[in-house]
Protein backbone atom coordinates (compact mmCIF):
# COMPACT_ATOMS: atom_id res chain seq x y z
CA UNK A 1 0.00 0.00 0.00
CA UNK A 2 1.32 3.39 -0.91
CA UNK A 3 1.64 5.96 1.78
CA UNK A 4 1.16 9.57 2.76
CA UNK A 5 4.12 10.72 4.83
CA UNK A 6 3.73 13.68 7.19
CA UNK A 7 6.79 15.55 8.45
CA UNK A 8 6.35 16.56 12.11
CA UNK A 9 8.06 19.90 12.68
CA UNK A 10 9.60 20.33 16.13
CA UNK A 11 10.65 23.77 17.36
CA UNK A 12 12.18 24.45 20.77
CA UNK A 13 11.32 20.97 22.05
CA UNK A 14 7.66 21.09 21.02
CA UNK A 15 5.59 19.73 18.16
CA UNK A 16 4.40 22.69 16.12
CA UNK A 17 0.64 23.17 16.05
CA UNK A 18 0.89 23.70 12.30
CA UNK A 19 2.39 20.20 11.97
CA UNK A 20 -0.66 18.76 13.74
CA UNK A 21 -2.93 20.73 11.40
CA UNK A 22 -1.13 19.13 8.45
CA UNK A 23 -1.28 15.69 10.07
CA UNK A 24 -5.03 16.03 10.73
CA UNK A 25 -5.76 17.04 7.13
CA UNK A 26 -3.40 14.37 5.80
CA UNK A 27 -5.37 11.70 7.68
CA UNK A 28 -8.51 12.65 5.70
CA UNK A 29 -6.64 12.66 2.39
CA UNK A 30 -4.93 9.33 3.13
CA UNK A 31 -8.18 7.67 4.10
CA UNK A 32 -10.02 8.95 1.01
CA UNK A 33 -7.26 7.54 -1.21
CA UNK A 34 -6.56 4.27 0.58
CA UNK A 35 -3.05 5.38 1.57
CA UNK A 36 -1.42 4.46 4.86
CA UNK A 37 -0.80 7.52 7.04
CA UNK A 38 2.80 7.65 8.21
CA UNK A 39 4.80 10.32 10.03
CA UNK A 40 8.47 11.25 10.26
CA UNK A 41 10.08 13.04 13.19
CA UNK A 42 13.58 14.43 12.69
CA UNK A 43 15.09 15.78 15.90
CA UNK A 44 17.98 15.31 18.30
CA UNK A 45 15.45 13.44 20.48
CA UNK A 46 12.85 12.33 17.92
CA UNK A 47 11.54 9.19 19.67
CA UNK A 48 10.21 11.22 22.61
CA UNK A 49 7.52 12.74 20.36
CA UNK A 50 6.19 9.45 18.92
CA UNK A 51 3.49 8.96 21.57
CA UNK A 52 2.04 12.39 20.99
CA UNK A 53 2.05 11.89 17.22
CA UNK A 54 0.19 8.56 17.51
CA UNK A 55 -2.84 10.45 18.89
CA UNK A 56 -3.44 11.78 15.39
CA UNK A 57 -3.80 8.49 13.57
CA UNK A 58 -0.43 7.66 11.98
CA UNK A 59 -0.01 3.90 11.55
CA UNK A 60 3.77 4.09 11.27
CA UNK A 61 6.10 6.67 12.78
CA UNK A 62 9.69 7.00 11.59
CA UNK A 63 11.93 8.62 14.16
CA UNK A 64 15.34 9.89 13.13
CA UNK A 65 17.43 10.98 16.11
CA UNK A 66 20.89 12.46 15.81
CA UNK A 67 22.78 15.20 17.67
CA UNK A 68 23.56 16.73 14.27
CA UNK A 69 19.99 18.11 14.16
CA UNK A 70 20.74 20.40 17.11
CA UNK A 71 22.86 22.66 14.96
CA UNK A 72 20.11 24.02 12.75
CA UNK A 73 22.01 23.23 9.56
CA UNK A 74 20.11 22.08 6.49
CA UNK A 75 22.37 19.28 5.22
CA UNK A 76 21.65 16.62 7.88
CA UNK A 77 17.89 17.28 7.66
CA UNK A 78 17.98 16.99 3.86
CA UNK A 79 19.84 13.66 4.20
CA UNK A 80 17.48 12.33 6.87
CA UNK A 81 14.24 13.28 5.15
CA UNK A 82 15.52 11.89 1.84
CA UNK A 83 16.40 8.63 3.54
CA UNK A 84 12.93 8.22 5.06
CA UNK A 85 11.27 9.12 1.74
CA UNK A 86 13.31 6.31 0.18
CA UNK A 87 12.14 3.91 2.90
CA UNK A 88 8.47 4.90 2.89
CA UNK A 89 8.16 5.49 -0.86
CA UNK A 90 5.22 7.88 -0.32
CA UNK A 91 2.93 9.27 -3.00
CA UNK A 92 2.61 12.48 -1.02
CA UNK A 93 4.82 14.10 1.62
CA UNK A 94 3.24 16.93 3.62
CA UNK A 95 5.06 19.43 5.83
CA UNK A 96 4.07 22.51 7.80
CA UNK A 97 5.47 25.57 6.04
CA UNK A 98 8.13 27.03 8.37
CA UNK A 99 11.51 28.64 7.80
CA UNK A 100 13.05 25.29 8.72
CA UNK A 101 11.07 23.32 6.14
CA UNK A 102 11.45 26.05 3.50
CA UNK A 103 15.17 25.61 4.02
CA UNK A 104 15.11 21.95 2.93
CA UNK A 105 12.16 21.05 0.65
CA UNK A 106 13.71 22.39 -2.55
CA UNK A 107 16.88 20.41 -1.99
CA UNK A 108 15.00 17.24 -1.01
CA UNK A 109 12.82 17.57 -4.12
CA UNK A 110 15.89 17.93 -6.34
CA UNK A 111 17.74 15.10 -4.59
CA UNK A 112 14.81 12.66 -4.75
CA UNK A 113 13.57 13.79 -8.18
CA UNK A 114 10.22 14.61 -6.54
CA UNK A 115 7.80 17.43 -7.28
CA UNK A 116 7.52 20.26 -4.76
CA UNK A 117 4.53 22.58 -4.27
CA UNK A 118 5.31 25.07 -1.50
CA UNK A 119 3.17 27.17 0.82
CA UNK A 120 -0.27 25.87 -0.12
CA UNK A 121 -3.54 26.97 1.47
CA UNK A 122 -5.37 23.74 0.50
CA UNK A 123 -4.29 20.33 -0.77
CA UNK A 124 -6.04 17.22 -1.97
CA UNK A 125 -5.27 14.03 -3.87
CA UNK A 126 -7.52 12.41 -6.46
CA UNK A 127 -6.69 9.79 -9.11
CA UNK A 128 -2.98 10.16 -8.44
CA UNK A 129 -2.99 13.94 -8.97
CA UNK A 130 -2.04 16.22 -6.08
CA UNK A 131 -4.15 19.38 -6.33
CA UNK A 132 -3.43 22.51 -4.33
CA UNK A 133 -4.31 26.16 -4.12
CA UNK A 134 -1.64 28.68 -3.13
CA UNK A 135 -1.58 32.48 -2.89
CA UNK A 136 0.46 34.23 -5.59
CA UNK A 137 0.90 37.76 -7.00
CA UNK A 138 1.36 39.36 -3.58
CA UNK A 139 -1.38 37.07 -2.20
CA UNK A 140 -4.05 38.80 -4.29
CA UNK A 141 -5.11 35.64 -6.10
CA UNK A 142 -4.95 31.86 -5.63
CA UNK A 143 -3.14 29.71 -8.19
CA UNK A 144 -4.30 26.13 -8.72
CA UNK A 145 -1.06 24.17 -8.76
CA UNK A 146 -0.95 20.44 -9.30
CA UNK A 147 1.37 17.54 -9.92
CA UNK A 148 1.02 13.94 -10.98
CA UNK A 149 4.61 13.02 -10.15
CA UNK A 150 5.31 9.71 -8.37
CA UNK A 151 6.26 11.61 -5.21
CA UNK A 152 5.02 15.11 -4.41
CA UNK A 153 6.18 17.27 -1.49
CA UNK A 154 3.69 19.88 -0.27
CA UNK A 155 4.29 22.50 2.42
CA UNK A 156 1.14 23.91 4.03
CA UNK A 157 0.56 27.39 5.45
CA UNK A 158 -0.28 27.48 9.13
CA UNK A 159 -3.94 27.90 10.03
CA UNK A 160 -5.15 26.24 6.84
CA UNK A 161 -6.75 23.28 8.64
CA UNK A 162 -8.11 22.42 12.09
CA UNK A 163 -6.38 19.98 14.42
CA UNK A 164 -8.36 16.83 15.25
CA UNK A 165 -7.29 13.71 17.14
CA UNK A 166 -7.89 10.12 16.09
CA UNK A 167 -5.69 7.84 18.20
CA UNK A 168 -4.23 4.78 16.50
CA UNK A 169 -1.81 1.99 17.32
CA UNK A 170 1.40 3.05 15.61
CA UNK A 171 4.48 1.05 14.70
CA UNK A 172 7.52 3.12 15.65
CA UNK A 173 10.53 2.70 13.36
CA UNK A 174 13.78 4.05 14.73
CA UNK A 175 15.77 4.87 11.61
CA UNK A 176 19.50 4.25 11.61
CA UNK A 177 21.06 7.54 10.74
CA UNK A 178 24.80 7.95 10.96
CA UNK A 179 25.94 11.40 10.16
CA UNK A 180 29.53 12.57 10.04
CA UNK A 181 29.34 16.13 11.36
CA UNK A 182 33.04 16.50 10.65
CA UNK A 183 32.28 16.19 6.96
CA UNK A 184 29.83 19.10 7.02
CA UNK A 185 30.83 22.03 4.85
CA UNK A 186 28.69 24.57 6.72
CA UNK A 187 29.48 25.70 10.24
CA UNK A 188 26.94 27.23 12.61
CA UNK A 189 28.85 30.11 14.19
CA UNK A 190 26.25 31.79 16.31
CA UNK A 191 22.57 31.84 17.22
CA UNK A 192 21.23 35.30 17.87
CA UNK A 193 18.05 34.97 19.85
CA UNK A 194 15.61 37.79 19.51
CA UNK A 195 14.61 39.61 22.65
CA UNK A 196 11.03 40.07 21.47
CA UNK A 197 10.17 36.38 21.22
CA UNK A 198 8.64 35.79 24.64
CA UNK A 199 5.83 33.82 23.02
CA UNK A 200 6.57 32.04 19.71
CA UNK A 201 4.76 34.21 17.21
CA UNK A 202 3.88 31.50 14.70
CA UNK A 203 2.30 29.31 17.41
CA UNK A 204 0.58 31.95 19.55
CA UNK A 205 -3.18 31.81 20.21
CA UNK A 206 -3.32 35.60 20.45
CA UNK A 207 -1.13 38.00 18.47
CA UNK A 208 -0.92 41.74 19.05
CA UNK A 209 0.69 43.46 16.06
CA UNK A 210 1.63 47.08 15.64
CA UNK A 211 2.34 49.33 12.67
CA UNK A 212 3.54 52.80 11.88
CA UNK A 213 0.75 54.33 13.97
CA UNK A 214 2.60 53.36 17.17
CA UNK A 215 4.89 56.29 16.35
CA UNK A 216 7.37 55.99 19.22
CA UNK A 217 8.42 54.20 22.42
CA UNK A 218 5.12 55.16 24.11
CA UNK A 219 3.14 53.38 21.44
CA UNK A 220 5.49 50.41 21.59
CA UNK A 221 5.07 50.21 25.38
CA UNK A 222 1.26 50.27 25.07
CA UNK A 223 1.38 47.44 22.52
CA UNK A 224 3.66 45.35 24.73
CA UNK A 225 1.47 46.01 27.77
CA UNK A 226 -1.58 44.84 25.84
CA UNK A 227 0.31 41.69 24.80
CA UNK A 228 1.32 41.10 28.43
CA UNK A 229 -2.21 41.24 29.84
CA UNK A 230 -3.48 38.97 27.05
CA UNK A 231 -0.55 36.53 27.23
CA UNK A 232 -0.11 37.28 23.54
CA UNK A 233 2.86 37.30 21.18
CA UNK A 234 3.96 40.64 19.73
CA UNK A 235 4.17 41.07 15.96
CA UNK A 236 4.93 44.01 13.70
CA UNK A 237 4.52 45.34 10.19
CA UNK A 238 7.48 45.59 7.84
CA UNK A 239 7.49 49.38 8.19
CA UNK A 240 8.30 49.31 11.89
CA UNK A 241 10.70 46.35 11.87
CA UNK A 242 12.64 48.29 9.23
CA UNK A 243 12.67 51.37 11.42
CA UNK A 244 14.30 49.21 14.09
CA UNK A 245 11.50 49.55 16.66
CA UNK A 246 11.00 45.76 16.62
CA UNK A 247 13.40 42.96 15.60
CA UNK A 248 12.97 41.45 12.14
CA UNK A 249 11.96 38.10 13.71
CA UNK A 250 8.64 39.71 14.62
CA UNK A 251 7.73 40.79 11.11
CA UNK A 252 4.39 39.41 9.92
CA UNK A 253 3.62 39.29 6.23
CA UNK A 254 4.56 38.00 2.84
CA UNK A 255 8.29 38.19 3.53
CA UNK A 256 8.01 37.53 7.25
CA UNK A 257 5.98 35.12 9.33
CA UNK A 258 2.57 33.72 8.51
CA UNK A 259 0.41 33.58 11.64
CA UNK A 260 -3.08 32.21 12.21
CA UNK A 261 -4.05 32.84 15.84
CA UNK A 262 -7.54 32.68 17.33
CA UNK A 263 -7.38 36.42 17.96
CA UNK A 264 -5.32 39.03 16.11
CA UNK A 265 -5.04 42.69 17.04
CA UNK A 266 -3.86 45.03 14.28
CA UNK A 267 -2.95 48.26 16.02
CA UNK A 268 -2.06 51.42 14.10
CA UNK A 269 -1.46 49.27 11.10
CA UNK A 270 -2.86 50.22 7.68
CA UNK A 271 -3.17 46.69 6.33
CA UNK A 272 -0.89 46.74 3.29
CA UNK A 273 -1.44 43.63 1.17
CA UNK A 274 2.05 42.38 2.08
CA UNK A 275 1.06 42.38 5.74
CA UNK A 276 -2.41 40.90 5.21
CA UNK A 277 -0.80 37.95 3.36
CA UNK A 278 0.72 36.96 6.68
CA UNK A 279 -2.34 37.21 8.96
CA UNK A 280 -5.57 36.85 6.98
CA UNK A 281 -6.05 33.26 8.25
CA UNK A 282 -6.55 34.56 11.80
CA UNK A 283 -9.94 33.54 13.25
CA UNK A 284 -10.94 36.89 14.76
CA UNK A 285 -9.26 40.12 13.65
CA UNK A 286 -9.57 43.33 15.66
CA UNK A 287 -8.33 46.49 13.93
CA UNK A 288 -7.66 49.75 15.73
CA UNK A 289 -6.87 52.65 13.43
CA UNK A 290 -7.74 56.33 13.35
CA UNK A 291 -8.13 56.31 9.56
CA UNK A 292 -11.65 54.97 8.79
CA UNK A 293 -10.53 54.17 5.23
CA UNK A 294 -7.52 52.07 6.24
CA UNK A 295 -7.54 48.82 4.19
CA UNK A 296 -7.18 46.74 7.38
CA UNK A 297 -10.90 47.38 8.11
CA UNK A 298 -11.80 45.24 5.07
CA UNK A 299 -10.37 42.24 6.90
CA UNK A 300 -11.37 43.10 10.45
CA UNK A 301 -14.02 41.12 12.30
CA UNK A 302 -14.27 44.12 14.63
CA UNK A 303 -12.93 47.49 13.55
CA UNK A 304 -12.47 50.36 15.98
CA UNK A 305 -11.99 53.77 14.39
CA UNK A 306 -10.12 55.88 16.88
CA UNK A 307 -6.90 56.97 18.52
CA UNK A 308 -4.86 53.99 19.71
CA UNK A 309 -3.18 56.14 22.38
CA UNK A 310 -6.62 56.65 23.97
CA UNK A 311 -8.08 53.20 23.24
CA UNK A 312 -5.18 50.95 24.34
CA UNK A 313 -4.90 52.18 27.96
CA UNK A 314 -8.66 51.62 28.43
CA UNK A 315 -8.50 48.24 26.70
CA UNK A 316 -5.59 47.12 28.89
CA UNK A 317 -7.57 48.00 32.02
CA UNK A 318 -10.69 46.27 30.65
CA UNK A 319 -8.78 43.04 29.94
CA UNK A 320 -7.20 43.13 33.39
CA UNK A 321 -10.75 43.28 34.82
CA UNK A 322 -11.92 40.33 32.67
CA UNK A 323 -8.88 38.26 33.67
CA UNK A 324 -9.43 39.07 37.35
CA UNK A 325 -13.13 38.12 37.24
Amino acid sequence: MSSLLVHIAITDGKIKRSALEVLSRSREVASANGLSLEAVIIDADAASFADDVSKYGASKIYTVSNPAFKNALNTPVIEALSKVIEMANPKLVTLASTEATKDVVGAVGAKMDAAVIPDVATFDLADGVVKTTRPVMAAKVMAKAESSADTVLVTVRSGSYDVSESPAEAEVVNVDFDFDEGGLRQVLKEVLSSSGDKVDLSEAEIVVAGGRGLKDENGKKLLEDLADVLGAAVGASRAITESGMFPATLQIGQTGKVVSPQLYFAVGLSGAIQHVAGMSNSKVIVAINKDPDAPIFQYATYGLVGDLFKILPLLIEEIKKIKAA
Binding site: T11, D12, A72, T75, I78, E99, A100, K102, D103, V105, G106, G109, A110, V116, P118, P135, V136, M137, A138, A139, K140, V141, M142, A143, K144, A145, S147, A149, V152, R185, Q186, V187, L188, K189, V191, L192, S193, S194, D197, D200, S202, E242, A248, T249, Q251, T255, V284, V286, F297, Y299, A300, T301, Y302, G303, G306, I311, L314, L315, I319, I322
Partner: protein
Protein backbone atom coordinates in the same frame (compact mmCIF):
# COMPACT_ATOMS: atom_id res chain seq x y z
CA UNK B 1 35.93 36.75 -5.61
CA UNK B 2 33.63 36.03 -8.49
CA UNK B 3 29.99 36.72 -7.66
CA UNK B 4 27.01 35.63 -9.69
CA UNK B 5 23.45 36.78 -9.08
CA UNK B 6 20.55 34.88 -10.65
CA UNK B 7 17.83 37.33 -11.60
CA UNK B 8 14.27 37.00 -12.85
CA UNK B 9 11.97 39.35 -14.66
CA UNK B 10 8.53 39.42 -13.02
CA UNK B 11 5.29 41.27 -13.75
CA UNK B 12 4.36 44.22 -11.57
CA UNK B 13 2.57 42.27 -8.83
CA UNK B 14 0.91 45.41 -7.49
CA UNK B 15 -0.72 46.26 -10.83
CA UNK B 16 -4.49 45.74 -11.12
CA UNK B 17 -5.59 42.50 -12.76
CA UNK B 18 -8.71 40.59 -13.75
CA UNK B 19 -9.63 36.94 -13.61
CA UNK B 20 -11.01 35.88 -17.00
CA UNK B 21 -12.17 32.27 -17.28
CA UNK B 22 -9.76 31.24 -14.58
CA UNK B 23 -6.89 33.05 -16.24
CA UNK B 24 -4.95 35.96 -14.83
CA UNK B 25 -5.00 39.08 -17.02
CA UNK B 26 -2.84 41.97 -15.87
CA UNK B 27 -3.73 45.54 -16.78
CA UNK B 28 -0.11 46.31 -17.61
CA UNK B 29 2.72 44.60 -19.45
CA UNK B 30 5.22 46.37 -17.21
CA UNK B 31 7.92 43.94 -16.12
CA UNK B 32 10.39 44.41 -13.28
CA UNK B 33 13.50 43.01 -11.68
CA UNK B 34 12.28 40.66 -8.93
CA UNK B 35 12.74 42.64 -5.69
CA UNK B 36 14.43 39.74 -3.86
CA UNK B 37 16.89 39.34 -6.75
CA UNK B 38 17.58 43.08 -6.63
CA UNK B 39 18.65 42.56 -3.01
CA UNK B 40 20.90 39.69 -4.12
CA UNK B 41 22.53 41.92 -6.76
CA UNK B 42 22.94 44.75 -4.26
CA UNK B 43 24.55 42.52 -1.65
CA UNK B 44 26.92 40.98 -4.22
CA UNK B 45 27.91 44.48 -5.37
CA UNK B 46 28.59 45.61 -1.80
CA UNK B 47 30.72 42.54 -1.09
CA UNK B 48 32.67 42.93 -4.35
CA UNK B 49 33.30 46.60 -3.60
CA UNK B 50 34.62 45.67 -0.16
CA UNK B 51 36.60 42.53 -0.98
CA UNK B 52 37.41 42.87 -4.68
CA UNK B 53 36.10 40.90 -7.62
CA UNK B 54 33.08 41.50 -9.75
CA UNK B 55 29.45 40.58 -10.18
CA UNK B 56 27.85 38.92 -13.17
CA UNK B 57 24.15 38.27 -13.57
CA UNK B 58 22.27 35.49 -15.32
CA UNK B 59 18.65 35.53 -16.45
CA UNK B 60 16.37 33.06 -18.25
CA UNK B 61 13.72 34.67 -20.44
CA UNK B 62 12.58 36.21 -23.73
CA UNK B 63 13.96 39.28 -25.56
CA UNK B 64 11.95 41.64 -23.37
CA UNK B 65 13.85 40.37 -20.32
CA UNK B 66 17.00 42.10 -21.63
CA UNK B 67 15.79 45.33 -20.00
CA UNK B 68 16.03 43.59 -16.63
CA UNK B 69 19.62 42.50 -17.34
CA UNK B 70 20.37 46.16 -18.26
CA UNK B 71 18.90 47.25 -14.94
CA UNK B 72 21.34 45.00 -13.04
CA UNK B 73 24.22 46.21 -15.22
CA UNK B 74 23.21 49.81 -14.50
CA UNK B 75 23.30 49.00 -10.77
CA UNK B 76 26.93 47.97 -11.25
CA UNK B 77 27.14 44.35 -12.43
CA UNK B 78 30.01 43.85 -14.89
CA UNK B 79 28.46 41.40 -17.30
CA UNK B 80 25.13 39.85 -18.17
CA UNK B 81 24.26 36.34 -19.30
CA UNK B 82 20.98 35.91 -21.10
CA UNK B 83 19.70 32.37 -21.50
CA UNK B 84 17.23 32.99 -24.26
CA UNK B 85 13.89 31.20 -23.89
CA UNK B 86 10.97 32.77 -25.76
CA UNK B 87 8.22 31.11 -23.80
CA UNK B 88 8.96 29.96 -20.26
CA UNK B 89 5.37 28.84 -19.57
CA UNK B 90 5.31 25.22 -18.52
CA UNK B 91 8.70 25.49 -16.81
CA UNK B 92 8.66 25.17 -13.02
CA UNK B 93 11.33 25.75 -10.36
CA UNK B 94 12.90 22.35 -11.06
CA UNK B 95 13.24 23.19 -14.76
CA UNK B 96 14.75 26.63 -14.05
CA UNK B 97 17.19 25.01 -11.63
CA UNK B 98 18.18 22.47 -14.30
CA UNK B 99 18.87 25.26 -16.83
CA UNK B 100 20.92 27.25 -14.31
CA UNK B 101 22.83 24.11 -13.33
CA UNK B 102 23.86 23.59 -16.96
CA UNK B 103 24.85 27.26 -17.18
CA UNK B 104 26.98 27.25 -14.02
CA UNK B 105 28.91 24.27 -15.35
CA UNK B 106 30.20 26.61 -18.10
CA UNK B 107 31.50 29.44 -15.86
CA UNK B 108 33.82 30.00 -12.90
CA UNK B 109 32.29 31.36 -9.70
CA UNK B 110 32.81 31.62 -5.94
CA UNK B 111 29.45 32.82 -4.64
CA UNK B 112 26.01 32.55 -6.21
CA UNK B 113 23.42 34.91 -4.73
CA UNK B 114 19.73 34.49 -5.61
CA UNK B 115 16.54 36.05 -4.32
CA UNK B 116 14.86 33.81 -1.76
CA UNK B 117 11.70 33.72 -3.86
CA UNK B 118 10.14 35.54 -6.77
CA UNK B 119 7.44 38.11 -6.19
CA UNK B 120 4.97 36.64 -8.67
CA UNK B 121 4.92 33.00 -7.52
CA UNK B 122 6.45 33.21 -4.00
CA UNK B 123 7.65 29.62 -4.40
CA UNK B 124 11.24 30.00 -3.15
CA UNK B 125 12.51 26.67 -4.49
CA UNK B 126 14.94 27.42 -7.31
CA UNK B 127 17.86 28.44 -5.08
CA UNK B 128 17.88 25.27 -2.98
CA UNK B 129 17.27 23.08 -6.04
CA UNK B 130 20.19 24.73 -7.86
CA UNK B 131 22.46 24.26 -4.83
CA UNK B 132 21.48 20.60 -4.64
CA UNK B 133 21.99 20.04 -8.39
CA UNK B 134 25.42 21.73 -8.23
CA UNK B 135 26.27 20.04 -4.91
CA UNK B 136 27.01 23.40 -3.26
CA UNK B 137 26.65 24.21 0.45
CA UNK B 138 23.93 26.83 0.83
CA UNK B 139 22.03 28.92 3.32
CA UNK B 140 18.53 30.30 2.84
CA UNK B 141 16.73 33.51 3.80
CA UNK B 142 19.83 35.63 4.38
CA UNK B 143 19.35 38.99 6.07
CA UNK B 144 23.06 39.87 6.14
CA UNK B 145 26.28 38.75 4.44
CA UNK B 146 29.94 39.15 5.36
CA UNK B 147 33.16 37.62 4.07
CA UNK B 148 35.68 36.48 6.69
CA UNK B 149 38.72 34.26 6.05
CA UNK B 150 37.47 33.55 2.55
CA UNK B 151 34.23 32.19 3.96
CA UNK B 152 30.80 33.60 3.36
CA UNK B 153 29.12 34.32 6.68
CA UNK B 154 25.38 34.29 6.29
CA UNK B 155 23.09 35.77 8.90
CA UNK B 156 19.79 34.03 8.23
CA UNK B 157 16.32 34.48 9.59
CA UNK B 158 15.14 31.19 11.09
CA UNK B 159 11.81 30.48 12.78
CA UNK B 160 12.47 32.03 16.17
CA UNK B 161 16.05 33.28 15.99
CA UNK B 162 18.72 34.49 13.63
CA UNK B 163 21.61 32.15 12.86
CA UNK B 164 25.08 32.93 11.54
CA UNK B 165 26.33 30.19 9.24
CA UNK B 166 29.78 30.13 7.62
CA UNK B 167 30.00 28.61 4.13
CA UNK B 168 33.19 27.73 2.25
CA UNK B 169 33.29 28.84 -1.39
CA UNK B 170 31.96 27.92 -3.85
CA UNK B 171 28.54 28.26 -2.26
CA UNK B 172 25.03 29.59 -2.76
CA UNK B 173 22.90 31.92 -0.68
CA UNK B 174 19.25 32.94 -1.03
CA UNK B 175 18.57 36.55 -0.09
CA UNK B 176 15.70 38.22 1.74
CA UNK B 177 14.69 41.73 0.73
CA UNK B 178 15.14 42.73 4.37
CA UNK B 179 18.93 42.79 4.00
CA UNK B 180 19.42 46.02 2.12
CA UNK B 181 17.88 48.78 0.02
CA UNK B 182 18.88 48.04 -3.59
CA UNK B 183 20.58 51.07 -5.17
CA UNK B 184 18.79 53.13 -7.82
CA UNK B 185 21.00 53.14 -10.95
CA UNK B 186 22.73 56.49 -11.52
CA UNK B 187 22.60 58.22 -14.89
CA UNK B 188 26.24 57.29 -15.39
CA UNK B 189 25.42 53.69 -14.46
CA UNK B 190 22.64 53.64 -17.02
CA UNK B 191 24.92 55.09 -19.74
CA UNK B 192 27.80 52.68 -19.08
CA UNK B 193 25.44 49.69 -18.84
CA UNK B 194 24.77 50.03 -22.55
CA UNK B 195 28.41 49.25 -23.30
CA UNK B 196 28.66 46.29 -20.91
CA UNK B 197 28.73 42.81 -22.46
CA UNK B 198 25.66 40.55 -22.49
CA UNK B 199 26.38 37.00 -23.52
CA UNK B 200 23.38 35.29 -25.10
CA UNK B 201 22.98 31.53 -25.00
CA UNK B 202 20.21 29.22 -26.12
CA UNK B 203 19.07 26.08 -24.31
CA UNK B 204 20.70 24.07 -27.11
CA UNK B 205 24.04 25.84 -26.36
CA UNK B 206 23.71 24.38 -22.85
CA UNK B 207 22.86 20.92 -24.15
CA UNK B 208 19.20 21.24 -23.18
CA UNK B 209 15.90 21.00 -24.99
CA UNK B 210 12.75 22.97 -24.17
CA UNK B 211 10.31 20.11 -24.83
CA UNK B 212 12.36 17.77 -22.69
CA UNK B 213 12.43 20.33 -19.85
CA UNK B 214 8.66 20.81 -20.05
CA UNK B 215 7.79 17.11 -20.20
CA UNK B 216 10.49 15.42 -18.18
CA UNK B 217 12.00 17.95 -15.77
CA UNK B 218 9.04 20.17 -14.81
CA UNK B 219 6.83 18.23 -12.40
CA UNK B 220 4.27 20.81 -11.38
CA UNK B 221 1.86 22.95 -13.35
CA UNK B 222 -0.54 25.80 -12.73
CA UNK B 223 -3.93 24.98 -14.22
CA UNK B 224 -5.71 28.24 -13.41
CA UNK B 225 -6.46 30.95 -10.89
CA UNK B 226 -9.30 31.69 -8.52
CA UNK B 227 -10.17 34.57 -6.19
CA UNK B 228 -8.86 34.58 -2.64
CA UNK B 229 -11.65 33.30 -0.35
CA UNK B 230 -13.31 36.30 1.27
CA UNK B 231 -13.64 36.76 5.00
CA UNK B 232 -17.12 37.19 6.39
CA UNK B 233 -17.93 40.90 6.54
CA UNK B 234 -17.03 42.49 9.88
CA UNK B 235 -18.38 45.29 12.01
CA UNK B 236 -16.86 48.76 12.17
CA UNK B 237 -17.47 51.17 15.04
CA UNK B 238 -16.87 54.90 15.36
CA UNK B 239 -17.48 56.23 18.87
CA UNK B 240 -15.63 57.67 21.85
CA UNK B 241 -12.84 55.48 23.25
CA UNK B 242 -14.80 54.32 26.34
CA UNK B 243 -17.72 53.13 24.24
CA UNK B 244 -15.41 51.46 21.68
CA UNK B 245 -13.62 49.48 24.38
CA UNK B 246 -16.81 48.35 26.11
CA UNK B 247 -18.36 47.30 22.76
CA UNK B 248 -15.24 45.34 21.83
CA UNK B 249 -15.04 43.71 25.24
CA UNK B 250 -18.65 42.54 24.95
CA UNK B 251 -18.16 41.17 21.40
CA UNK B 252 -14.92 39.34 22.18
CA UNK B 253 -16.46 37.66 25.23
CA UNK B 254 -20.01 36.99 24.12
CA UNK B 255 -20.05 36.86 20.31
CA UNK B 256 -16.59 35.66 19.24
CA UNK B 257 -16.01 33.93 22.60
CA UNK B 258 -12.24 34.33 22.38
CA UNK B 259 -11.68 36.00 25.74
Amino acid sequence: MKFFACIKQVPDVYAPFQLKDGDLVLDTDRMMLNAYDASAVEEALVLSEKHGGDVEVVLIGPDKAKETIRKALAMGAAKGHHIHVDDTSGLDSAAFAKILTAFFKTVEFDIIAVGKQSQDTDAGLTGAMLAQDLDLPYAANAVGLEINDNKLEVKRQADTAQEVIALPTPCLVTCSNDMNEPRIPSLKGIMTSKRKPVDVKTLEDLGLNLDDLKTNVAKTSVTGYEPVPERAPGKKFEADPEELVSTLSDLLQNEAKVL
